[in-house]
């Protein structure tokens, strides 16, 4: 029945139109396929970026959209870059970024190296280790809030067991000194498996015959590790650092669930500060300028990082 309908539709197509469709060049067909994607990219990524750059030079407030918008030049940038609160939030972001990446790379690589050893049940262990990564950040933030409770939280009791301190004598989320570390611990717990998986892929890509050749040359295990394992895993490790770096630079959900930026503003990362400026104080122009500063920073860092990654891969 449908065949008959199709035949009828084909016969009903005017011969000139049919010839035109048949005569499409490869380039035109390629544009037909790529066109919608390019359109979406322009509409969803490029246009908002240009619009944000435009807004960053204005005093626009989204909650007063009817008010006349004034162009104020670089005043938003000037205010942000002399604001000590923003400076503090950048320092908090730097602390979070550095230590999470440091611990995730260290522990992730170690776990991958151990999992890569062939032992009974290593597939099961891989699955267990990977579990935290599969959870929602909102869920992780919520249950770590319970784990950090000074009265009933398991974390305090584990620390107390090893140090002999009173479990209720310290408060991870309420202390100015400990709160920045509490978010580092949770992010490390959640995302180390991701780094581990990437490192594991790198370790498994090293052919056995390289180690066998090194054995024949009587290279020690330590020498093999530093001259074979590390250089061959390095591109994978750099990729993991790039992914985690970009992700943690804009970390928001987990930290909001855990500390909400507090106590005071010691865990107020750049993204949390940005959200407050944009959607609590409604300083849209100001927050657009802040977003552009963060964008340029991440873009610049990612550019040199990708360059370095390509160089390592060429070696």
């Amino acid at each position: 029945m449908s065949q008959t309908t199709l035949d009828q539709a084909a016969q009903a197509t005017p011969p000139r139109a049919a010839r035109r469709i048949k005569g499409l060049s490869d380039r035109a067909i390629a544009w037909i396929f790529v066109g919608p994607t390019i359109f979406l990219l322009l509409a969803i990524n490029i246009f908002p970026l240009i619009w944000t750059i435009n807004l960053s030079f204005t005093n626009f407030k989204a909650n007063r959209a009817n008010r006349a918008v004034e162009y104020i030049g670089f005043r938003n940038y000037e205010r942000i870059l002399t604001d000590s609160d923003i400076w503090l939030s950048m320092q908090a972001t730097a602390h979070f970024l550095f230590w999470t990446i440091f611990f995730q790379v260290l522990i992730g690589f170690t776990l991958a190296w151990l999992i890569n050893k062939k032992f009974k049940g290593n597939d099961l262990w891989t699955t267990i280790i990977v579990l935290p990564m599969m959870l929602s950040p909102a869920v992780v933030g919520n249950f770590w809030t319970f784990l950090y409770q000074p009265q009933i939280g398991l974390f305090n009791y584990v620390v107390a067991f090893f140090t002999g301190a009173d479990p209720s004598s310290f408060e991870m989320l309420g202390s100015v000194n400990l709160a920045p570390w509490s978010i580092v611990i949770v992010d490390t717990w959640m995302w180390t498996p991701f780094v581990m998986l990437i490192c594991l892929a790198g370790l498994r890509s090293i052919p056995d015959y390289i180690y066998e050749a090194a054995e024949i040359d009587r290279a020690s295990k330590l020498r093999q590790f530093f001259t074979i394992t590390i250089p061959m895993v390095l591109p994978f490790l750099m990729l993991a650092v790039l992914f985690r770096g970009i992700e943690n630079f804009k970390m928001f959900d987990l930290v909001v669930q855990l500390t909400g930026g507090g106590p005071g503003s010691v865990t107020e990362l750049a993204s949390i500060n940005l959200k407050r400026e944009a959607f609590e104080k409604w300083r849209t122009g100001y927050s657009s300028a802040f977003a552009i500063i963060l964008f340029v920073t991440v873009f610049g860092l990612a550019s040199i990082y990708v360059k370095a990654l390509n160089k390592v891969k060429e070696r």
């Binding site: 940038y77 870059l81 002399t82 000590s84 400076w87 950048m90 320092q91 972001t93 730097a94 500063i293 340029v296 920073t297 873009f299 610049g300 860092l301 550019s303 040199i304 360059k307």
Partner: protein, 62 residues
């Protein structure tokens, strides 16, 4: 070292990318350091110049 400077004079990618990379790195350090506010103030312009330079010089010949 002389290769680096001759690369700058002859507009070669390697040398100029090195300059752009140093500027971006310096800008990021200035943005996140906890010591002096003026370094934070000038961090964005440093990063921006480095980033734009990086985009331009990556089209220079090797």
């Amino acid at each position: 070292m002389s290769g680096f400077f001759s690369g700058l004079v002859r507009l070669r990618r390697g040398s100029w990318e090195m300059v752009a990379t140093v500027l971006i790195g310096l800008g990021v350090v200035m943005l996140m350091q906890p010591f002096v506010l003026w370094a934070f103030t000038y961090s964005f312009i440093t990063t921006l110049v480095g980033t734009v330079m990086f985009i331009i010089v990556s089209h220079f010949p090797e």
